[in-house]
Symmetry: C2
Subunit: 345 residues, 2 copies
DNA sequence: CTGTTAGCGCTTTCAG
DNA sequence: CTGAAAGCGCTAACAG
């Protein structure tokens, strides 16, 4: 278990000083070509590896960024992270991942923890709709040292950049499409509307109804968890109504799937009796054989890339006025069988 | 843009020395309760946060581990990573993720890069079947400072721990199941068998055939990429054979899906004409409505957890003899419609 | 062209 | 119970 070799080791071996070795390794032109080559060679020979930790301590830059998400094993979040990693690694950054499982205290803790390890920035999709009441988060806001970029589940906080898709448009387009299919009684599976993304999808839905002369019916909006089981539960409620809806716009693909299962098992046909639209373009929505699910693509890979770029701009900004950016990507409605009543000519 | 407060700042303010403050913060009993409380209070008041980077440099432990995977946006890998993060975070570790996209040079580079940032260990699923020829990897092996744990795509290298599933059994069980369904001509969509996992699935397949008196037919084994398109391509080849197979065991769920699509579009029925079994239990395999795909569950979450545990054992091992563990998890065949010819009583 | 020195923030002997 | 001093590995003035 030999120790790692440091610049002191190679300095000693060469009768030089650590400073010279450091400069030589960094190809400083002040150092003669001879010694530079000599140092480089012996460094190689001694299996020298730069200790970036020392560098980080010295320079105050760790070249690490933290990414906080509710969970990593969903296609949406892992795609975002993929985008972040691909964008940041070439610039010398490593990506530390943290999951919150939607628990506020864990989110709080992980923010703190990331700050402690001196990350150069934090990119996060929030789990806590009342983030401002979170102690760790507030400290982060206050010292303003660490750039923060929200993606997807953001909060509208002054001085903080964000990358989202236009959820209002997503909700609007989805609903408009259902109206175009002739649906009149469109239910909406919403989610906690304390989160902007869910509120905006809901608002888009409402606006589309209103723009098309359909009266808003509150009983058709049900808060639903983003999973298959809860989709089933809610679909049951809708089917049991005196006048069941003729369409469902779900803010989650998983809930949409559950709804589809429940609807089919109850003997109804999709899309003939009930049209369904989801949200996220999760891979499985495409693979359904009978009823490929209409959904809204959020371009997670691009979202991740963009969030990374916004972070890079912030760290490289040397001016004293902080620039904050709020990038809004455009979602895309992907029309598939679950909502396509009449084949288009 | 005020600087972060250090123990010196609070020492100065209190007329103490940094050492005392350090000890007080660590609740060292040698420090009087009074000063301890005093220090703790002012630390809080001054928004003090420990700089773990300095600690890491001092102690030689970064409490970071690197995880290297081909890509993160597949359910299998992101589930493994989820398991790793959940297991390691409570022990104080952060997880740095790196993707290789199956490129050897990138894998090489990222290994080096992780070593440079002084990770305490590397957990990886290899991308390069000839890893031993990889310079960065060899350096890693030689200095033996950094614990290394393989998961899933491992190499059988002395002194390196690994966590895998029993791929042989997975292949065997899948094939045996097809034989039980009465299939006689079972094709196998394999993948690069320089990787142990694919070789073992293949060997399991062969063994099951031989154990059941079916002659091995090399023309029924085709190397296939793990994606939908290549699954289609290969299915086409099989369907065009003089005597097409009556079953397909694919070492990838994605290729299985492609095959199913091609088979159906060619007018054949699944499972009546051709039975199909995949591998991985990707979420979509369950959601297929007409032909939920029979597949083999690899328990990625548990695999990640276990890999993390093996790492923890290695770092906490103070003895001078390195203990290496090769954990083999048991896969589970999940029988679904795509291979179930006759309903079981 | 190279050496000296100091310091990044923290812990930890060794004294007192 | 607390202080002084050294050191983790590296870089960056400042000298010469």
């Amino acid at each position: 278990m030999k120790k790692k070799t440091t610049i002191y080791d190679i300095a000693e071996k060469l009768g030089l000083t650590a400073a010279t070795v450091s400069r030589a390794l960094n190809n400083n032109t002040k150092i003669s070509l001879n010694t530079r080559k000599l140092v480089l060679d012996t460094a190689l020979e001694m299996n020298y590896e730069q200790n970036k930790l020392a560098l980080a301590l010295k320079s105050g830059k760790s070249y690490n960024v933290g990414v906080i998400v509710p969970r990593i094993d969903s296609n949406f979040f892992s795609s975002v992270i993929r985008g972040i990693e691909e964008e940041l690694y070439p610039k010398g950054y490593h990506v530390i991942i943290c999951q919150t499982h939607n628990q506020e205290n864990i989110e709080n803790e992980k923010i703190n923890s990331l700050v402690n390890v001196q990350v150069d920035g934090i990119l996060m999709s929030i789990s806590n709709a009342n983030l401002e009441e979170n102690k760790g988060f507030n400290k982060l806001l206050k010292n303003k040292k660490t750039p923060l970029v929200f993606f997807d589940r953001k909060k509208d906080i002054k001085g903080i950049s964000s990358v989202t898709i236009d959820d209002f448009k997503g909700g609007y387009d989805a609903t408009k499409h259902l109206l175009d299919q002739g649906c009149k009684r469109i239910a909406h599976l919403s989610n906690d509307r304390n989160f902007e993304i869910f509120r905006n999808r809901y608002l888009g839905y409402k606006q589309a109804l209103s723009d098309n002369g359909i009266e808003f019916d509150e009983s058709l909006v049900i808060e639903t968890q983003s999973n298959v089981l809860d989709g089933r539960r809610v679909a049951r409620l809708l089917l049991d109504m005196e006048t069941p809806p003729d369409a469902i716009f779900s803010s989650s693909d998983f809930a949409a799937l559950g709804a589809i299962q429940e609807i089919k098992e109850s003997g109804f046909n999709i899309p003939e009796d009930i049209c369904v639209v989801g949200f996220s373009n999760e891979p499985f929505t495409r693979f359904m054989e009978l009823t490929a699910i209409t959904t809204v693509d959020q371009f997670p890979l691009e979202m991740g890339r963009t969030a990374a770029q916004v972070f890079l701009e912030e760290v490289s900004n040397t001016g004293d006025t902080k620039i904050t950016k709020n990038v809004v990507l455009t979602p895309q409605l992907i029309i598939r069988k679950s909502s396509l009543k009449h084949k288009e000519g």
